[in-house]
């Protein structure tokens, strides 16, 4: 089958969003389901059908969502209402919108934790310490499933 000529193809927009918390590992398919659920719930089937949102890729703490040109503002608003992916609490922070994925890749700055071997006790619970730039410290409960997270700063941790 011959592809459509460029002038007749649907114009697309790509939205880059950062996944919070930083260390969260989420599956692309699960992110897609979460985005579609949030968008359909907020905008309705008709609007989402026309917008054709899709998750292009999900890696390095970022997600790129594709949609039709002209609907990117609506989809960005819908992304702000995503609160969980597969029962894991997350937030999607819109970083930029572009016509090409290449332009968005330039905006992606990988965020890696500086160290992660420490352990701290808050109340009766033990937490693993993950330090990030700008004095941010994420505490993740030690365990296998449904671990609680706390979000501190270096100063908060020292003060305890």
């Amino acid at each position: 089958m011959r592809p459509r000529p460029p002038a007749m193809r649907t114009k697309r927009r790509y939205i880059l969003a950062r996944i919070l918390p930083y260390g969260a590992w989420v599956d692309q398919k699960q992110v897609y389901f979460a985005v579609i659920e949030a968008a359909t719930s907020l905008l309705g089937d008709a609007a989402v059908g026309l917008a054709q949102p899709a998750v292009v890729f999900c890696e390095g703490g970022y997600v790129v969502v594709r949609c039709r040109r002209g609907t990117e503002k609506d989809i960005a608003v819908a992304l702000a209402t995503v609160t969980s992916v597969a029962d894991e609490r997350i937030a999607l922070r819109t970083v930029a919108t572009s016509g090409t994925i290449h332009a968005l890749r330039r905006r992606m700055k990988p965020i890696r934790h500086l160290s992660g071997d420490e352990e701290v006790k808050v109340g009766e619970t033990y937490f693993a310490v993950y330090r990030y730039p700008r004095q941010k410290v994420d505490l993740v409960e030690k365990g296998i499933k449904h671990q609680k997270s706390l979000f501190f700063t270096e100063a908060d941790l020292e003060e305890r």
């Binding site: 918390p21 608003v77 702000a80 609160t83 609490r89 700008r134 501190f152 700063t153 100063a155 908060d156």
Partner: protein, 214 residues
């Protein structure tokens, strides 16, 4: 003009400390944030303002609670909205700055009489983003209807509005740009959002006529 998040609930009420939430708030485009609760007020980003919430069933109770030392120390005093008579009376209380949780009240609980009094006294109505972000279905639809109703009264009478994320975690905080998009869902324009975000500054430091000191 300071862009302010009119309500965050840090650790121990939530899972993020004041310092972390203000750091995030600064990154999201806010100049200050009103911290509700007994958290330690230390900022590492945006400026921190104290907020106190009064949840009362009667105006008599509100008048009693505004004398509490914790409420007197607060920069911004909030009262949870209730029935129509309660709302009409509470906007006339001098110490009250903001009426909140308007989405949880019955239809017409905040009516034109309360709106006119709020405009005369400079009492603001808070628009929380939490119901729009976290609720789904009919509950969110009702919240959007209530906000649209409040917005139509605000356009008619001119009382101040505030916008709060009501976040208990950094995951609940939203950027100024995202707030503009969310507020557009119930018909708020960009200029109205900017004015609402900066109204906390005007509440704590109201415009007064120039006084000549000899």
């Amino acid at each position: 003009m300071k862009i302010t998040d009119a309500g965050i609930h840090p650790y121990p009420a939530g899972d993020s400390t004041v310092a972390r939430m203000t750091l995030e708030a600064a990154g999201l485009g806010f100049d200050s944030a009103v911290v509700i609760g007994d958290a330690v007020h230390r900022s590492s980003g945006a400026e921190v303002l104290r907020g106190a919430v009064i949840g009362a069933a009667s105006v008599k109770e509100v008048l009693k609670r505004v004398r509490d030392p914790a409420v007197r120390r607060a920069d911004v005093v909030y009262v949870d909205a209730g029935e129509i008579a309660f709302n009409r009376a509470v906007v006339a209380v001098k110490e009250v700055n903001v009426v909140r949780s308007i989405h949880a009240t019955r239809r017409n609980a905040f009516d034109h009489v309360a709106a006119r009094t709020a405009a005369e006294r400079g009492v603001a109505v808070d628009i929380s983003m939490a119901p729009i972000v976290h609720l789904r279905g009919t509950k969110r639809q009702k919240a959007l209807q209530r906000y649209a109703d409040v917005l139509s009264l605000q356009r008619r009478y001119g009382f101040p509005l505030t916008i709060s994320s009501d976040a208990r975690s950094i995951l609940g905080q939203r950027s100024v740009r995202e707030l503009r998009g969310l507020c557009a869902l119930f018909g708020m324009t960009g200029a109205e959002v900017t004015e609402a975000l900066s109204s906390v500054g005007r509440i704590i430091e109201p415009h007064r006529s120039v006084r000549v000191v000899k």
